[in-house]
């Protein structure tokens, strides 16, 4: 039976607990959100002793199931004031699962100024005082731990941004090549910093591995599932070749590429930063156009991007980051964006929140539009060194807007709106408004159906069908986020009929369960409702399920689209 590890940072004690029966069928987001909702007082301060930071691998993590190595982290978010779940690839989820760890719960807060590290292994978890690695960036932390504990050691860490408890701080997880993937959104790095934990090292030596209830059934379902992933043109060819950045040109064409801090829907410099250009640049410089964020990913949307000299510049270079500093800040030099991406990884900053914060800062006149060199300087010299300006930008778009009196601040629940304009892609606007996570495209990725013709077609510029589309996708996503699966399995799942039954078949064969499609939908619904109930108890209301005023008043080119949903139409999302 998998166990729960509990770490109390107030009295520096640890415990290994049996998994309560009601948590046995949960994993990933369903488990972190259930634990946060049950154990965290909703009104607590997110950076105080009563918040808890919970890590949980997905239901299928650690098995041979393709793309199942995602780790969920949950807590009350210091950015949104609501519940947060953020999931990530890397090696940690599979190590946790093989160690039989259902969840790691970190609670309390140390009294003094000391810092700590957690060591997780087959005998449980220990707390050690940490001095040497304080103040260092994530890459240096990973390097030091690899030479100290061995190449295979798992690492979950915060950079200087998390140590400073900035609300754009993320939690970094080591990937198979010793680089970084991130629990990006919602300031979870600040929560880890408030617990004064610099890193968690994981050693999975001497574990028996995962016992499947029905190994043959698992193998059969897994084969069908992997085939569906390989057969679908998006997961089988599109994502591996161009990565997520192929979206720059698509959103530009559709007029949904937020440009110059959300004032236009198209960017003149789109060809300089697009996925096609990036692919050719990567190949010409000897980088890797495809790369997986965890072992067992068959899609491999990630890549390794080199500089002109052929030296490593960054990896996991995503559309949202490239959009955020590119179109949104008018930077056309892909190398500058790559340098900034690498710095954000090293400092431990969410690249969406930080990029949108820079857009607001440019609108405030703090730096010129399009100045990539200045962005790199501010990251290194201001945020990295913790100056007042650096801390304001590192606290996110909302903080920059409030500090400098800017009215065009693209946030929902104080979390930055990512790379799809809700005026011209209306379904995603419903997701931004209603997701308990704040503005988050992954929570209900209507772009699939609004723009990419996956799972049908719903006209992005009309209101009809958007609430229902977002609702169905948010329910499905909440369930998928609980399995440990990467969200990109949704592309084949929406189009290939055998895909979802095979996924459920693997869960059943893993646990000896008898789940049906309805059970999985039921799980998604209950997770969303639980998260919403936490938010309401924390003091959020339906007035927080709204887009900022400027989306109503300022039409966006080229379609002159505005956000025209009524409050009642948005609130109908919750009728389920």
């Amino acid at each position: 039976m998998d166990k729960i590890l509990r770490v109390n940072m107030t009295d520096l004690t640890t415990k290994v607990e049996e998994t309560p029966a009601e948590w046995a069928g949960l994993g990933g987001r369903a488990l972190t959100s259930t634990i946060v909702a049950k154990e965290v007082p909703p009104a607590c301060h997110a950076l105080g002793p009563n918040n808890k930071l919970v890590f949980a691998p997905g239901l299928l993590s650690g098995t041979a199931a393709s793309n199942s190595g995602r780790l969920s982290a949950g807590a009350k978010s210091p950015l949104t004031g609501g519940i947060k779940e953020s999931n990530v690839g890397g090696t940690a989820a599979q190590m946790f699962a093989r160690l039989g760890i259902k969840a790691l719960i970190v609670e309390g807060m140390p009294q003094g100024e000391g810092w700590y590290a957690l060591k997780v292994g087959k005998d449980g978890v220990t707390i050690e005082e940490e001095r040497g690695l304080l103040g260092l960036g994530n890459f240096a932390v990973i390097e030091a731990l690899q030479s100290l504990l061995g190449k295979k050691t798992g690492v979950i860490a915060i950079g200087p941004a998390g140590e400073m408890r900035l609300t754009a701080a993320n939690i970094s997880v080591k990937d198979p090549s010793g680089k970084i993937r991130s629990h990006g959104r919602g300031g979870l790095g600040a929560v880890m910093g408030s617990k004064r934990i610099k890193f968690i090292a994981i050693d999975d030596e001497g574990t028996p591995g995962i016992q499947l209830a029905d190994p043959e059934g698992f193998k059969a379902a897994s084969r069908i599932f992997t085939k569906a992933l390989m057969d679908h043109p998006v997961s089988g060819q599109g994502l591996p070749t161009y990565g997520t950045n192929v979206l720059v040109n698509i959103l530009h064409e559709a007029g949904g590429l937020p440009t110059r801090n959300f004032t236009h829907g198209q960017f003149d410099g789109h060809e300089q930063i697009c996925g096609e250009t990036m692919h050719d640049t990567i190949v010409a410089r000897g980088g890797k156009p495809r790369h997986g964020c965890h072992a067992g990913c068959v899609i491999q949307c990630s890549q390794v991007y080199h500089d002109q000299e052929g030296q490593y510049l960054t990896s996991g270079f995503e559309y949202e980051t490239i959009w955020g500093l590119g179109a949104n800040c008018l930077i056309t030099e892909l190398d500058d964006i790559a340098r900034a991406d690498n710095l954000m990884d090293d400092l431990g900053l969410d690249s969406i929140e930080t990029a949108v914060a820079f857009g607001v800062a440019m609108e405030a006149g703090l730096l010129p539009w399009g100045d990539g060199k200045e962005v790199v300087r501010i990251l290194r010299e201001e945020i990295g060194k913790g100056t007042a300006l650096g801390r304001v930008i590192g606290s996110g778009a909302g903080a920059v807007g409030r500090t400098y009196g800017v009215t065009r601040v693209p946030v929902v629940k104080n979390q930055a709106i990512p790379a799809y304009d809700p005026r011209s892609v209306k379904g995603i606007g419903i997701t931004y408004c209603t997701s308990p996570m704040g503005a988050d495209h992954t929570a209900g990725y209507t772009i699939a159906t609004n723009i990419l013709n996956v799972g049908g077609q719903v006209d992005p510029l009309k209101k009809e069908g958007q609430v229902e589309l977002s609702r169905n996708l948010q329910i499905a996503t909440a369930a998928i986020d609980s399995t440990g699966m990467c969200i990109f399995i949704a592309f084949p799942a929406l189009d290939i009929p055998e895909c979802l039954p095979a996924l459920i078949g693997m869960i059943n064969a893993r646990f000896g369960a008898n789940l049906t499609g309805d059970d999985v939908t039921g799980l998604g619904k209950s997770v969303l409702k639980l998260e919403r109930a936490f938010n309401l108890a924390a003091g959020l209301t339906s007035a927080d399920d709204r887009l900022p005023e400027f989306f109503h008043s300022d039409p966006i080119t080229p379609h002159q689209a505005v956000w025209d949903f009524t409050n009642e139409e948005i609130d109908a999302f919750w009728d389920f």
């Binding site: 043109p233 599109g238 070749t241 559709a254 495209h441 077609q457």
Partner: protein
């Protein structure tokens, strides 16, 4: 009737061995389908077809100075 000029934009691997953007002439009212087939594509390869930034069907007929954008089935997130 005089032919119409349509700007065609190709994306992702559709560009390989073809072009990024080019103006082509067609008879007035030509359907997207005929333009696509004329460029040597199979209809099954089409992911997204947009005319002037709006999703269009294969039957959609084109007018003078329209922009036709063709994407293979790709995606991201």
């Amino acid at each position: 009737m005089a032919p119409i000029t349509v700007t065609i934009k190709l994306f992702a691997h559709f560009r390989t061995g073809r072009f990024k953007e080019a103006d082509h002439q067609f008879p007035p009212g030509v359907a997207c389908r005929d333009v696509i087939l004329g460029l040597g594509f199979r209809l099954g390869e089409m992911g997204i077809v947009m005319v002037n930034g709006h999703h269009a069907t294969l039957d959609h007929s084109l007018n003078e100075r329209d922009t036709l954008a063709l994407f293979p089935l790709v995606g991201g997130g």
